[in-house]
Amino acid sequence: MTRILPKNKLDDCIAAWQKAGFSVLAPVQRHGMSSFGEVQKASEMALDLILTERTIKDHFFPQTEPLIKYKISKHDIDSETMTPPERKRIFFGVRPCDASGLEIDDPLFGWDYKDDYWFRRRENSVIVSIACSEADDFCMCTSVKLSPDSTRGADVMLRPLSGGNGWQVEAISERGTALCDTVSSLLQEETAQAAPLPRVDGKFDVEKVMEWLADKENFESRFWKDISMRCIGCGSCTFLCPTCHCFDIQDEGDTYQGIRRKNWDSCSFALFTMHTSGHNPRNAQSTRWRQRIMHKFNYYQGKFGVNSCSGCGRCTRQCPVDMGITETLQAITNLPR
């Protein structure tokens, strides 16, 4: 016997969660783009998508975030710290790769300084993952040692039933158990088979890749120039990545008033490392692409013991010139040693 959430009880679940003070966010297709958005009804959810084009990262680390408001008058300087609204949220239908992405980023935002903006949102959110029932050519979770039903970063794991009429429910964390309790009357005890997981073939050998990256001799390898020749230097791979987290601080306003903001930034941009003097230590696209790969599969691992990639494949899927992590790591795997 397993606990089951029948699909036709989803509307009741949403209502119950809303009554308990939660906003419910789910995959939606709006204005020609798929992302996580607030929903009132199950019919608004786009649960058949393999993956949304945007990640849930956007809701924890928004692309632009006001930090401080300031006002300078004749005798006083006023400043006000702006904090994100205290809002309890449920993310329903998160894919395991995106949920893992949040957990991968946690140590980064809590390392030398606890980023209140990130953790306040993390603490107020419950992640309800749904295991994948389909994968596409770009999915690569298994290559980074995750899986289509990985529970990393999830509070509740739902596994689609083979009949397609509901999900097996497994609470992963305390927060998940508490969430399941709020809808316990809607869940049923049944014997129902979960649908088989999609096959996600291994695309590269991450151990081999890490070993090659760790060899300092390879830092200046010709490989980096060859692999990144067609990179046009946009930031789409970094901004669609569930784990990329770089930002820039900008003051917007004039001498008398303004707002300090935290905005997404990307290591793909030449401006990212441009010094005030005009010198740029990463003055070619190949050095910037190398940085992205090194950061994800070497530096991050060294600092936090985990690779900064959850295998969603968006970097390749949406790349205007068909580049991405998969091809690069495949090429490294196949390099003669």
Binding site: G233, T238, Q250, L271, T316, V321, M323
Partner: protein
Amino acid sequence: MGIQEQYRSEAAELLSSGEVKLVIGFGAGSTADRRRPLFARTPEESEKLVLDQNCIANLTTYLVAGGLLTDGKKVAVFLKPDGIRSLNILIAESQVKAEQVVIFGFAIENNEVTPLEGRSISDFAKLGEKLRTATPPPSVQEEAERLEAMGSSGRFEYWKEQFSKCIKCYACRQACPMCYCRRCIVDVNQPQWVSTSSHTLGNFEWNLVRAFHLAGRCAACGACDRACPVNIPLRLINYRMGKEVKEAFDYFAGESSDQNPVLASFRQDDPETFIL
């Protein structure tokens, strides 16, 4: 011999004779129907060139990237008619020297690839006129008319929604052959002229700045539109700007390589109705 094989062997000849230092074409991509830019420097590498109905990217972008042509050497590039149009604009704007580019021209019609005669930009003089008088793709025209019928407040709402998706990844700029500025205005940060924030104002600023900078310069290749990871229909903006310029100045960007760029030149009989 099919066109792919013909161009492969011609590319190999150009490379082995040293006539060109590089051939920019298409290669196999990460899925069966994806093609990716391929850079062949040796005759062997030119064997990997692919040419079929999936080769839709505008490769002129690479001609103006990273100082590729500054050594004066020649480069060969695979171009569709919209790519040839872009090349005309780049030559007219003195960004590329005509004699440095060997063209492997091709057209895709009804999923069929046909070769275009000629290897130098001067061989394509008639193509410009053909493009000028061609009707734009019905999908773009219909959508543009639908927006036109909305009225200004409806259009404003439409673009507000579309621009709200913008993440300022600048894929549109990076994919565009006309965005060749060494330092884009949004990257000028002492002081910061255009806001880097992706709020409503910042997103409008960026997309409008780009639209204005492309007025009378866009080859309608659709590279920006295809590159946009959040599906903003940028083709509609450029279509509208192109129409505006055509009506005001009877000018079609990229018709020939010896055009005077419309917004960087003047005629004595230019209308002066905007002067109060």
